[in-house]
Symmetry: C2
Subunit: 339 residues, 2 copies
């Protein structure tokens, strides 16, 4: 069986990855349509050796489609409900619907069953949240996590293709002795850090920081997991890193954590300090696993653990997770066929 | 009154800053001598408009000197005790003596009185520790800090002049489509993060991480402050940043924290999210203050607080702190004059 698939935001950083991953995983695509803003309409994209023309997203693009993959951005608010109303199963990468009670928020390694109760839209979580919950799930199942203190080191590609170009241009400017001119980010990001991602909200935390708190609780089905986050942009092209400190109800030794993480789906443990082996964004890029290392017991509390978690946020943090959700929907028979 | 001063490691990143700061602060230098390894001997350095020739460090360089400023590295182990035995007051920036019971470990804003009991050597703390304790001291005095969870974002200049050059070369190589060849660091640092600073020690923590634990307790005179650290190298030329979560005995609100930090010596509060104002390494460089921002109450525990702390680790984290110690020694009459 194969499906009519429409990708909205097909020309962006996440959209490009979605197409790559649909191809790599041999996703059963029957008809493919590509939507984008009017600015990107007319661009051509190659998928499985065939050239597709990107069109401006309009309600009609969803007619006869089975699955719509939204890469993120403002198109979601405008068109996701429209698509769902036409019977299309929507997987949405924006933050618009993640906390809606009628929308499941799914990481296939963590809460796969949640796709079953969707009402037309399934939300893909924030990139920083996805890699954190994939790493924390096996530890939570064993020792019940009570509190998480997380500091992020987020790559520029989280802010789109223009952000990648901006870092490149600023580095070039620096080497030529010119000034770095920021446009995507509020300040130069080359050779700098910006402790500000998304808008500021309650209690002086950013929206990115609140996402890590609220999305984690929803995905884990545990409103009692307490998360406090500090999110920081770093001059890395791709793959987010996270320094995570957890407190559990039951003690988890380093050895136990390694054992649990090695068995966990989607996780790869890289933790061999003697050989200087630990996860790094340069080597996590273009891979689907969540890499976990620097696993250390934290003896400042009875049941503490420190972890260093790295993943390609365009893949597992966005596109791969979305395609995995689509695969789950098919597996569970939760996609209505309209084509 | 002026003093005979010898700077050991005068041609390195920290040594160069020491000379700049002695000049800036109009330190009362009578005679100046500059020592380095044999490799750097013969180099010329300008101080207050006069040219000085750097010589290879030998025991004789300390004869007749009053104050010796060691920039760090292996020279400290070889020569600091030798200098002290000759009656020279040594301020040492290496990690060799920091935890010795007969050596005060001093941050002038935190424990100035400790210089008084020196027995020839005063140790300058680790850069990451200095900026953390300057920011935490006023909060500790008010609310008693019980636990600190810190993740660092450390600039390459912490690893010396060669590391600055290495980042530049790797960025250039990247733009030219060439491979980045690491030499100072175990992996490429351009567009990457390396969660490994200094050697691995007990419990899989690095020496850099243990320094933040043990030095903080010694400087604060409080073995009960519990610190857990994750230290990470980032592709920033200069100034270290730290994401710090603290738990206190007495509740500190955001407003109280700002009030305490604004009054604290050596601290500058930059915390105005509406105007996108927060500390960043690019703007902290070449300054002496410790910049504190992103001050947020952490409600996952009764008395929690998150902070983002940035400082120029070559200045306040090393050279400025060392020269401030020398000034304190003079103020307290704790320097023997040999010249």
């Amino acid at each position: 069986m194969s499906y009519n698939v429409v990708v909205i935001g097909a020309t962006g950083a996440v959209g490009g990855e979605i197409l790559k991953i649909l191809e790599e995983r041999n996703f059963p695509v029957k008809e493919l349509r590509l939507g984008a803003t009017s600015r990107s309409a007319g661009k051509e994209v190659v998928f499985r050796g065939e050239t597709y023309r990107v069109v401006e997203t309009t309600p009609e693009i969803f007619d006869g489609m089975d699955i719509a993959l939204f890469a993120g951005g403002s198109a979601s608010k405008e068109f996701a409900r429209v698509a769902a109303a036409k019977g299309v199963t929507v997987i949405d990468n924006s933050s618009a619907f993640r906390l809606e009670p009628d929308v499941p928020l799914v990481v296939p390694e963590v809460n796969p069953e949640d796709v079953k109760w969707h009402k037309g839209i399934i939300a893909n979580p924030n990139c920083s949240t996805i890699q954190m919950v994939v790493a924390l799930k096996p530890l939570h199942d064993y020792g019940k996590i009570k509190r998480v203190v997380v500091s992020t080191y987020q790559a520029v590609s989280g802010a789109g293709i223009e952000a990648i170009e901006e870092l490149k241009q600023q580095v070039k400017a620096y080497l030529n002795g010119e000034e770095a001119v920021p446009s995507v980010f509020p300040y130069p990001i080359a050779f700098n850090l910006i402790p500000h991602i998304d808008v500021f909200q309650d209690m002086y935390y950013t929206k990115e920081e609140w996402k890590m708190v609220l999305e984690t609780q929803k995905i884990m089905h545990d409103p009692e997991i307490k998360v406090t986050a500090t999110t920081v942009r770093v001059p890395v092209f791709r793959s987010h890193s996270e320094s995570i400190n957890i407190e559990t109800e039951i003690k988890i030794t380093r050895e136990k954590a390694i054992e649990l993480l090695k068995k966990a789906p989607g996780v790869k443990v890289i933790d061999n300090p003697e050989e200087k082996q630990y996860p790094m964004p340069l080597y996590a890029s273009n891979q689907d696993e969540v890499f976990v290392g620097r696993i250390r017991e934290d003896n400042t509390i009875p049941n503490g653990l420190n972890l260093w978690v790295v993943a390609d946020q365009l893949r597992k943090g966005a596109a791969t997770n979305a395609v995995q959700i689509a695969e789950l929907l098919i597996k569970y028979g939760c996609v209505k066929q309209n084509g």
